[in-house]
Amino acid sequence: MQFVLSDPGLHWRDGWFLLQGAGHTLWVTLVAGLLGTLLGVVLGWLRFSSVLLRIITAPYIDVVRSVPLIIQLVLANSFLALAGVGFDTFWLCVAVLSSSMAVVTAEVVRAGLASVPQTFRRSARSLGLSARQEFFHISAPLAVRTSFAAWVGLLLGLAKDSALVSVVGYVEYMKSSQILITRTHETLPLLVGVGVFYFVICYPVSRYSARLERRMAL
């Protein structure tokens, strides 16, 4: 016996379904981007300021950068499952994505802080600024200036990486398109739609970031 859907073609209400997927992609990117950046700034600052912490955190950074995101997602998913912890798929995705975002952000932050000349730091301190004042008024603004463009690039990378979270069952734009492809067999238009979706988000931002980088370089 075979089940046949009465009308498997594309409908207008599928647009709503895709829109939801798009919303999920943006939402998971936004939350993971925010958390990852905060964690990354702290991690980068720690790695910059202490040699001991740099050595301690090195394995974590190394592992996150050398294992595919998709495996990290599956591993985290099955670990939580076997530990018997109830969890929300969304937060699982956010946790894995923000951990990878934190690692790359930390490197950018560290490089940004390292690009502030030692003489600036010393003269600030000798003018009577405390270490904290020096950080917030001298180092941090200069580091933000040099690393902002790179950080925008990382955020775009995160947006594209969020296409992978469907492996643990979070229905973002890529997955929702795939679901529709399975039902309607309208492969090409839906797939091209996916490409256009990401391109429209990423292209303007990457152009902006490239322009910013050029301006900084001058």
Binding site: P68, I70, V74, S78, K160, L188, Y198, C202
Partner: protein
Amino acid sequence: MFGYVFYWSLVWDALPQLLAGAWLTLQIAVLSMLFGTVVGLALALYRQKGEGAGARFASAWVELARNTPVLFQIYMMYFGLGSVGIQVSSYAAVLIALSFNNAGYLAEIFRGGLAAVHRQQLSAARSLGLTKLQSYLHVIFPQLLRIVFYGYVTQAVWAMLNTSLGMLVGLHELSGAAQSAQSISFRSFEFFFVTALIYYLIAKLMELGARVVFRRWLRV
């Protein structure tokens, strides 16, 4: 954890399968880097010219490769081409998509490197009687690769990690092999833990290998 017993022996039994997958992973990573390097160099040179159809084509390629997810590119090669009647194997689809992706990213890396190689190097090589091809092969590219070495190795590792997406189009590279091996017992944690370990080792191996090869050739 609580009441869960790890069965590592299952993974041990399936290790040959995983290693065969790892070999496929390495193969695709290296091949896609090779194709990506050749095409990426061409794209970077065309982009450097800045005008004409070639430059526009190269720009379009780079922007498309860099601004869409790799997974989309793989799906496009596998399902997209399939839907217009061109059937490609999952191996070919992943290899083509990753080569396309690598070419785009490497073109951007090379562009930065080309800007750092002094312009007069080319004129000097040409006036010494080298043909255009010779001067690029023997004068420009060696300097270029030396400048972009770290970016290049990072991209190579990234390409290797991206082969894991082959799992989603049914390719039995490392992730796919693990996926199909674990589907017998559903011991997914054990299998993917070992898989992660193998990926880590391959990444380190690639970094080490690149360093050795580049030191020999380019004295980085």
